[in-house]
């Protein structure tokens, strides 16, 4: 999608005015009767950041979104937008725009009327309305759709209109509730890029709900991983990917997901490490700065290894290498997934297709021990 520059006059605030779209959610809980949906949510982001709320279905993402938008009130806690507490401010006065999972287009109005509705309600002069519609239509390349009804549009086009309706206003905060989940895979990737470009251009604070971890990783400045109404981890995509705070986050983010290998923490020759056993090899792999775990020697731990951290060992002197027997291969094009067993657990390695061996053959894999993470099997938390 072409991205022409925005004209200077934007609605409703002038460009000059400094808009603070910082968002803070402070100890927000939500209960419906006896069911507690959100159990103490704390999130803070700066003006202009892109926040991702990610988590499995039913974890309370939409509920949190509705609370930010003011469509539902929190049971306890505070929501701050642009530095002011908005708990008692109605949705229309929060200066937000929202795109819904089901698009929520007004069925009897054509695209033009759909976009104009919010402007009309806010008593924007007719002439200005037309300018806004033209700008949005051009930006989203839907000039030719303006006179159609939502029923006459494809899923992708509807998605665009829903986006256009939000963009027609110039809010300090955009809320997207799974806007891409009804699109097919290809369109989804396209729209994802468009949203990212949009954010880079508008620099407006955005909150984006998804349960797609790729969307989460590619779009977000900050990611909040949720489960059962609790924030499991809140941080930058890189932090969450590299230093997941618990087993859930580690398994939820990344595809194929992280390998979890049960092992024993042991000490050999003054080095602390783990013993790995495969069908064709057994090794003790020392952990860099393993001394911090001295108190846990002899205990069970879970070793978390991402598939790309298991690569082909090219030189024989690599300490952290282990020979494995290939059980199955899955070529994906750029990489080939190698399935094997380590310590009795199924493990996936992502290697270059050139290096991949066939099922039944053995190959040597190197573990990047500086990147692996360890988890406590009982608390499921990452060991520092």
């Amino acid at each position: 999608m072409a991205m022409p520059a925005l004209p200077a006059a934007r609605y409703p605030n002038s460009e000059l005015e400094k808009k603070m779209g910082a968002l803070a959610i402070k100890n927000v809980t939500k209960s419906f009767g006896d069911t507690h949906i959100l159990k103490g949510i704390d999130i803070e982001i700066d003006d202009g950041q892109f926040l991702i709320l990610v988590g499995p279905s039913g974890c309370g993402k939409s509920t949190l979104m509705n609370i930010i938008a003011g469509l539902e009130g929190p049971t306890t806690g505070e929501v701050h937008i642009g530095g002011r507490v908005v708990n008692n401010i109605s949705p229309k006065d929060r200066d937000i725009a929202m795109v819904f999972q089901s698009y929520a287009l007004y069925p009897t109005m054509n695209v033009r009327q759909n976009i104009a509705f919010g402007l009309e309600t806010r008593k924007v002069p007719k002439k200005e309305q037309d300018e806004v519609i033209q700008r949005v239509a051009k930006m989203l390349q839907m000039d030719h759709l303006l006179d159609r009804k939502p029923g006459q549009l494809s899923g992708g086009q509807r998605q665009r209109v829903a986006m256009g309706r939000a963009l027609a206003r110039d809010p300090i905060l955009f809320l997207f509730d799974e806007p891409l989940s009804n699109l097919d895979a290809k369109l989804r990737v396209e729209m994802r890029t468009e949203i990212k470009q949009l954010h880079q251009r508008l620099k407006t604070t955005m909150v984006y709900v998804t349960h797609d971890q790729i969307e989460a990783m590619t779009l977000g400045d900050r990611i909040a991983v949720m489960k059962d109404g609790i924030i499991q981890q809140f941080g930058s995509p890189q932090e969450i990917y590299e230093r997941p705070s618990n087993l859930f986050v580690a398994s939820f983010i990344g595809s194929p997901s992280m390998n979890f290998i049960d092992c024993h923490l042991a000490e050999q020759n003054g080095q602390i490490g783990v013993s790995l056993q495969t069908d064709s090899d057994a090794r003790f792999l020392p952990l860099p700065n393993g001394q911090r775990l001295a108190g846990r020697v002899g205990q069970e731990v879970i070793l978390g290894v991402r598939p790309e951290q298991l690569d082909v060992a090219h030189s024989d002197d690599n300490v952290a290498a282990i020979s494995i027997k290939v059980n199955l291969t899955e070529p994906t094009g750029p990489d080939t997934m190698i399935f094997t067993k380590i310590n009795g657990k199924e493990v996936v390695a992502r290697v270059h297709p050139r290096d991949a061996k066939g099922p039944g053959e053995t190959m040597r894999l190197a573990l990047d021990m500086s990147k692996v993470v360890l988890f406590d099997p009982k608390t499921e938390l990452r060991l520092e």
Partner: protein, 298 residues
Amino acid sequence: MIQSTRPAQYGFAERWLPRLVLAPSFLLSLVFIYGFVVWNGYLSFTASSLLPRYEWVGFHQYARLFANDRWWVAVFNLFKFGVLFIGISMLVGIFLAILLDQKIRFEGFIRTVYLYPMALSFIVTGTAWKWMLNPGLGLEKLMHDWGWTSFTFDWLVNPDMSIYTVVIAAIWQSSGFVMALFLAGLRGIDDSIIKAAQIDGATLPRIYWKIILPAMRPVFFSTLMILAHIAIKSFDLVVALTGGGPGFSSDVPATYMYAMAFTRGEMGLGSASAMMMLLSVSAVIVPYLYSELRRGSR
């Protein structure tokens, strides 16, 4: 296509069984509906009085009908009744549906309460309202007993107002039904549309007026068809409630036709009025059916 893939021995039964099963009802409706319509049409051109008499008189009965005051009272009554009944039931029904749509408690119970009148026959409704509106028995007497002695509500016995009592009873009976139809329609509206409109800054009345009710157009038209149909057919309610009286002040075409054909010994006149009713119903139904069928075949 499906049939051709099945074994041949099923062919005969499959082709003829449905027709055989449908044949009796087809024959019955052919004779007792269309046959009698034709017979009635024929009678309206004869000089039949107490009994059918096949003496052709041309449009004489229609001329008498159009010169008959009582017929015009009946026609205007139907007009007043139809417009008020359809209009008010629709408004009350939509209003109740919107209230019930606000996710209130005991919704199931309230819905049943409002829908219940529809389960009664018009005869029961008419009789019940006759008691309630009777100045000597019902509302007026109750008010008098409570000490409000200047209260009068004599519409039932007032020739200028009697048709409006029919309107009241019919609205009482049907608005719950209208409510149920609209409530089903409202429930089909995606919640997030309302949320989106709230964020767009619309007030609840504006949301309903500009977004939700326009989306109810199909429900509106089917409800209109059903109510129009009830209005034109209304006979039993009038008979039970006012009996067409006082005098013939609350007659409608159906009671007029019944009175002429079966109690006043004016069968020709009755047939002519029945034909007029048939024609006006067709004027409404035929274009509707035509548009529906055309849409269905497309």
